[in-house]
């Protein structure tokens, strides 16, 4: 196969960090090339160098054998390197058709030829197997359709290389399948595709070749059939594969009086029929695909949305007009799904981020003394092994896993009764994942209750004492004890019989 895009010996540094230390990467025509690595491996930096978001410090880029320079995202696109990101990077206020054609629509004397734009967009969507009204504003479509529009846009130019940066995170299974069909088709047309994802299954389903990065270095580069899963994972985390084998923590049946009870709780349009109880020392897992109603259930419990039918009882009393402030007053805490947008206070220090919940509870006029703050912060930095230059470092300078630990610590410092963990391990490295799991188990034994949401089934099964399974915005069952196995949960998610 012909080498399409070659990156040779790429170096890229940011203040204080060497993100890429001599990385080489080659995409051939007609292949899907998976780029793997844990957070901080340099994956996203490499993608950004390729797509012109970052300029490289040294090294060279060759496209079809000729050295090129990529000065901006626009430049990358014009040279034939198109990118589709995890977040849909289109504009919601314009029509779907405009989103596909904007910037390269043909124009005559009277301006943009709207009819041509519409037809072109319809063709592009049809190529992906979709037939939608392209004149509607993009924001009125589901995320999946928006993602497809982003791919259609990338295809609309004469792209040679298509970079897919975690494109499947917001898609359901059918949509992923549809996407993979499109990818395979494009591959057969001779396009080079760079595929970044966290899902191992998807890598093996669609890729031809894998490159693995760790700490800004190449650690692996092999055709897919020469790199078994276990080896891939151990390359990614730089640790012996056997350490990954973990047993489900043996659990005694939990005997505790529940303080939360839901009866057919729901919120129109987001989630229905939620029935469960939670008592101290329990970890309730919410299993299901993305968009199955997991996060929505958490939002109801935390009073972000209020249930408009069914009932939520806290300590035996009906919690009508449940609000976030009431949830916090009842001793609930939340580590939100979107750490960046809903979790961290990016410019504030680790110390301030860590004590904010405690301080909010104290109120405006009883400020925690500085020595008290320092003491609390030190305790958690030590016990959770938070890696930070100092407690005064702005939290935005920490890695994702360490940010997550600070957010956990912010709540642990306030000793909540119930901690809602929505994807607490997403986007963090495997080591930190295990530490967080172990921490949950320890606190559970001390009597804290958890609601645990994760896309990784294995993790849910390992950490939870009981599992509520969600499907299509409904709770479809509750599994406890021996029943709560991966196979059983999976079949319930899939909607089949056990």
């Amino acid at each position: 196969m012909a080498e399409l895009l070659q990156l040779r010996n790429i170096q890229k540094s940011f203040p204080g960090v060497k993100a890429l230390d001599g990385v080489s990467f080659t995409v051939r025509a007609g292949e899907v090339h998976a780029l793997m690595g844990e957070n901080g491996a340099g994956k996203s930096t490499l993608i950004k160098v390729m797509t012109g978001v970052h300029t490289l410090d040294s090294g060279e880029i060759l496209l079809e054998g000729k050295p090129i320079q990529i000065k901006s995202p626009q430049d990358a696109v014009s040279q034939g390197i198109s990118t589709v990101y995890q977040e849909v990077n289109l504009v919601p206020n314009l029509s779907l058709a405009e989103n596909i054609c904007l910037g390269r629509e043909s124009a005559g004397f009277t301006g943009i030829k709207w009819k041509e734009v519409k037809e072109r967009a319809e063709r592009a969507m049809a190529r992906l197997g979709l037939n939608v009204d392209v004149r509607r504003p993009l924001g009125s479509f589901s995320i999946a359709i928006q993602q497809m529009a982003a791919i259609a846009r990338a295809l609309d130019v004469d792209a040679k290389v298509l970079v897919l940066d975690e494109p499947t995170s917001s898609l359901d299974r059918d949509e992923v399948k549809q996407l993979f069909e499109a990818i395979t088709k494009l591959k057969n047309e001779g396009m080079g595709i760079v595929f970044v994802t966290h899902f191992l299954d998807q890598v093996y389903a669609v890729s031809d070749h894998i490159t693995v990065l760790r700490n800004g270095n190449n650690v692996g580069d092999a055709p897919i059939d020469q790199l078994p899963r276990l080896e891939l994972v151990s390359m990614m985390i730089g640790r012996d594969a056997s350490a990954l084998e973990s047993e489900r923590v043996a659990k005694d049946p939990i005997q505790s009086t529940s303080f939360i009870e839901t009866q057919d709780m729901g919120h129109s349009g987001s989630v229905e029929g939620v029935n469960f109880t939670i008592g101290s020392g329990e970890v309730l897992g919410l299993a299901g695909l993305l968009g199955s109603g997991r996060t929505e259930t958490v939002r109801l419990l935390y009073g972000i949305d209020s249930a408009n039918h069914g009932e939520l009882k806290i300590d035996g009393r009906s919690a009508s007009g449940h609000k976030t402030s009431k949830a916090i007053a009842s001793g609930f805490g939340l580590c939100p799904e979107d750490r960046k947008l809903e979790g961290i206070l990016p410019d504030l220090s680790v110390r301030e981020n860590l004590t904010i919940v405690l301080q909010a509870r104290q109120g405006w006029f009883r400020k925690l003394s500085r020595s008290k703050q320092d003491e609390i912060v030190q305790v958690f930095i030590d016990s959770l092994r938070i890696k930070t230059a100092s407690p005064e470092t702005p939290i935005k300078n920490l890695s994702g896993g360490n940010q997550q630990k600070v957010i956990l610590a912010r709540w642990l410092a306030a000793n909540p009764r119930l901690l809602l963990l929505d994807e607490p391990t997403r986007g963090i490295d495997v080591g930190a994942k295990f530490e967080i799991s172990a921490l949950i188990e320890k606190l559970r034994k001390e009597g804290m209750a958890f609601v645990f949401v994760s896309s990784e089934l294995e993790e849910v099964v390992r950490s939870c004492t009981k599992i509520a399974v969600m499907r299509d915005r409904k709770m479809v069952g509750m599994l406890t004890g021996e029943e709560a196995s991966e196979e059983k949960v999976m079949s319930m998610i899939a909607g089949g019989e056990a």
């Binding site: 990358a76 919601p92 904007l102 504003p137 924001g139």
Partner: protein, 328 residues
Amino acid sequence: MKAIFTKERLPIIATSLVCIAIYVAAGLKFEGFFSLRVFLNFLTDNAFLGITAVGVTFVILSGGIDLSVGSMVGCTGIMTAVLIQNKHLHPALAIATVLLFGLLLGCGHGLLIQKFNLPPFLVTLAGLFLARGLGLWISKESVQIDHPFFSALAGIKISLPNGASLPISAILFLVVLVAGIVLAKQTRFGRTVYAIGGNESSAMLMGLSVGKTKIWIYALSGFCSALAGVVYTIYTSSGNALSGTGLELDAIAAVVIGGTLLSGGYGSVFGSFLGVLILAMIQTAINFDGSLSSWWTRIAIGTLLLIFMLLQKGIEVSARRTSKKAGH
């Protein structure tokens, strides 16, 4: 067939209804309000506001703000007058110079905002001070223009039936308006402005020339306000450095009342035209009444602005609700 009453069009429909309601109400109350002459005066008396508002619409559509337009009108007005009267420059040349000045100053705003990522608000605030200071420095006194070419220019008009006529300032306003509508709807520049207002970083990742467009947006606004300054000099046959005080607020009010969201991305140039008409009608109605003092204009505009903000909010909330449903 596409529905006319879609949610995205609600603001502009509301604006149209308010516009008609005020017109009818004032027309029924005040004799002679319905005459063509009064209507044409809306355009003539507010031509400088309207031209400014067209430029400001683009800025706001992109999610920015331009506070410098009012003092730009004063500055370019006095500059025109002094160039013609004291420096004996030919009016055509003087006007060209002034328009170029406006364009360049706007460009300067755009460059600072774009290249150094400074807040538009702060940069154009500096522009406000700069233009006002420059204008006052040129001349604190009002300068009368007395030049045959200029008088001829000021005398241009299109005659209409019933002895009414459309003077040059109103003509210029309408030309700028039409140009603005076409620019927003039919050109890549216009669509990029909407895209930037919708989501700037996405627009950048889509490979649109966000930087260049942003600079041009402010240049356009600078140019429009300079043209408004020229129109104002034509309208009053004199230049005054203090003219246009507070105009930035009226322009922003007109744009918002016209249905453009201040967060950018949604709105239209035609809506701003309706906004200008509404402001003009309120002012005229208060003048017709005679017993109401001038500050009622301010209070009325403020109240109207409040109502429209609440309306925009309502639409935003209901839109968010729908998209949430669509998203899952």
